[in-house]
């Protein structure tokens, strides 16, 4: 194993060891996605009882597809942010930052943990949606991988921005790890098309990669049409968001090294 991969694995091992020894942590990963899926599944069932069979099926698919894919973004963002916060809570960052682990290797390890946490959280919810509501997200086809990739990348970009603020401002910025993505949910067109939004705020939706993914998802689920333009827009926007997040991280990391914030991190 190369030295860089060894260091990345070292940080991932630290988190995997933590999860191996703590079943409540593992349970928590799957708890929220399953809970969300159940709430929206029951909502879809209720709507189905009041609608024609075809319309109900489409509404159910749009709601359950939306909630499951939104969880991909949310869990990816929280997976990266919380893995970083775990280091802060255990007051271990002082050791991490004086080791030969490069900042980009730390980000790679946190992304690795984000993927693992997301899969542990979302896969059970997807399987239960299939079992309880006969909703098969995999019926979308191989393009689902591209949807997942876009939603994960956006989650990482937001998480990196949160980590950047925590690096600079310490525990005061910690609540952002839980709340920031919920603020973007109304503009991400998770359960409704962008055209429903007031004209004045639609531009916000169009600069979010997530809104393009959810428009694409509805195209696949409702019309069996793959909207390549939406996917391309999502990938392009993600590049911009991720690039911006990496710049912000580098800038805030340097500011933290200048201001001494890393020395007192955790307070």
């Amino acid at each position: 194993m190369s030295a860089a991969l060894n260091r990345i694995w070292g940080l991932m091992y630290r988190h995997l060891a933590l999860y191996r020894g703590s079943w409540p942590r593992l349970l928590e990963l799957a708890y929220w996605p399953i809970l969300q899926m159940c709430i929206w599944g029951f909502t879809a069932s209720f709507l189905a009882s009041r609608m024609s069979a075809g319309a109900a099926e489409l509404a159910g698919a749009a709601l359950l597809g939306g909630v499951l894919l939104w969880e991909v973004t949310l869990r990816s963002q929280m997976g990266l942010s919380i893995s970083f916060l775990e280091e802060m809570w255990s007051r271990n960052l002082g050791h991490i930052f004086v080791s030969p682990l490069r900042p980009y290797e730390m980000i790679a390890a946190l992304i690795g943990m984000s993927v693992i946490r997301m899969l542990i959280g979302v896969i059970p919810a997807i399987l239960l949606a299939w079992a309880f509501y006969a909703f098969n997200l995999f019926a979308v086809g191989p393009v689902l991988v591209l949807f997942f990739a876009n939603l994960m990348i956006f989650g990482w970009a937001i998480a990196l921005s949160v980590v950047s603020l925590v690096l600079r401002h310490g525990a005061g910025a910690e609540p952002l790890a839980w709340g920031v993505l919920f603020g973007l949910a109304p503009f991400s067109a998770v359960f409704y098309p962008v055209s429903v939004l007031p004209m004045a705020v639609r531009w916000i939706a169009w600069i979010l990669p997530t809104s393009h993914v959810f428009e694409g998802m509805r195209g696949m689920l409702l019309d069996q049409t793959l909207l390549w333009g939406q996917l391309a827009a999502a990938f392009g926007l993600n590049l911009v968001w991720l690039f911006g997040a990496v710049l912000l991280f580098n800038w805030q990391f340097r500011q933290a090294r200048l201001s001494g914030a890393l020395v007192s991190m955790g307070e």
Partner: protein, 246 residues
């Protein structure tokens, strides 16, 4: 060969001058003590040596590497221990040592962990969570982490703080042995003057971010006409007596 070279090192936080143009060097194999009261600039200096803090001005070279431009090459051959920086407390000692073994790219990691376990008497606690250990056990584990990569430069911030005399002596003996066997350079910040007298070949006395005196423990004792370093420390900290030859 010089292991640590510090030139005109300065750190300013707004109006506060935490470290004010200090110069010093540590030859390979030496143990240099960094002494001073609270707020004298010891921790700030160590943080800059570790690359955790960017100096306002000045230059640091460790093992020939400029810490401003090439710090990761130096960090791979350094390590650090402080009772004020924790290891993940839910992980076992063995898991913690594995984590740092990977971060420092240690070869034959399990063998290295077994060696450290023998040398620092960690066998009984190796599979216990780090958070459940006594202060003495935690110190030995922190030392094992600091030695996992067989460092050429070791930075220790109060390594025996809050330890009983027996454990403190054990740690000091172990550090002496490690230095003797490997030629490691140690920079030691401590408030324990007996420890400094025992371990250090050279001492820097810091006050308000400046080096106000330096020399071997014997030289300082002679210069201030004192019998132990604690009195020298108090003379300097309280400004109650100048060096005899000053």
């Amino acid at each position: 060969m010089t292991a640590i070279q510090v030139e005109q090192l300065t750190k300013r936080y707004g109006d506060v001058l935490a470290v004010d143009g200090i110069d010093f060097s540590a030859p390979a194999g030496a143990t240099v003590g960094l002494l001073g009261g609270n707020g004298a600039g010891k921790t700030t200096t160590i943080a800059m040596l570790l690359g955790l803090l960017i100096p306002t001005s000045g230059r640091i070279r460790v093992l020939g590497h400029d810490m401003a431009t090439d710090r990761f090459a130096a960090l791979a051959r350094m390590n650090f221990s402080s009772p004020y920086v924790s290891l993940p407390f839910r992980l076992t000692v063995r898991q913690n040592l594995r984590v740092y073994g990977h971060l420092y790219n240690v070869r034959d990691l399990e063998q290295r962990i077994a060696e450290l376990s023998d040398e620092l008497d960690l066998g009984a606690v190796l599979d216990r969570p780090a958070g459940q250990l006594s202060a003495g056990q935690k110190t030995r584990v922190a030392l094992a982490k600091a030695l996992i990569n067989r460092p050429d430069v070791l930075l220790l911030d109060e390594p025996t703080a809050s330890l009983d005399p027996d454990t403190g002596d054990l740690v000091r003996s172990w550090l002496e042995r490690y230095r003797g066997e490997t030629g490691c350079t140690i920079l030691l910040a401590s408030h324990n003057m007996a420890e400094v007298e025992r371990l250090c070949s050279h001492v820097l006395m810091l006050k308000k971010g400046r080096v106000v005196d330096r020399g071997s423990p014997d030289e300082l004792l002679a210069r201030y006409g004192r019998a132990d370093l604690e009195d020298v420390f108090l003379d300097i900290a309280r400004g109650r007596r100048q060096a005899v030859d000053a």
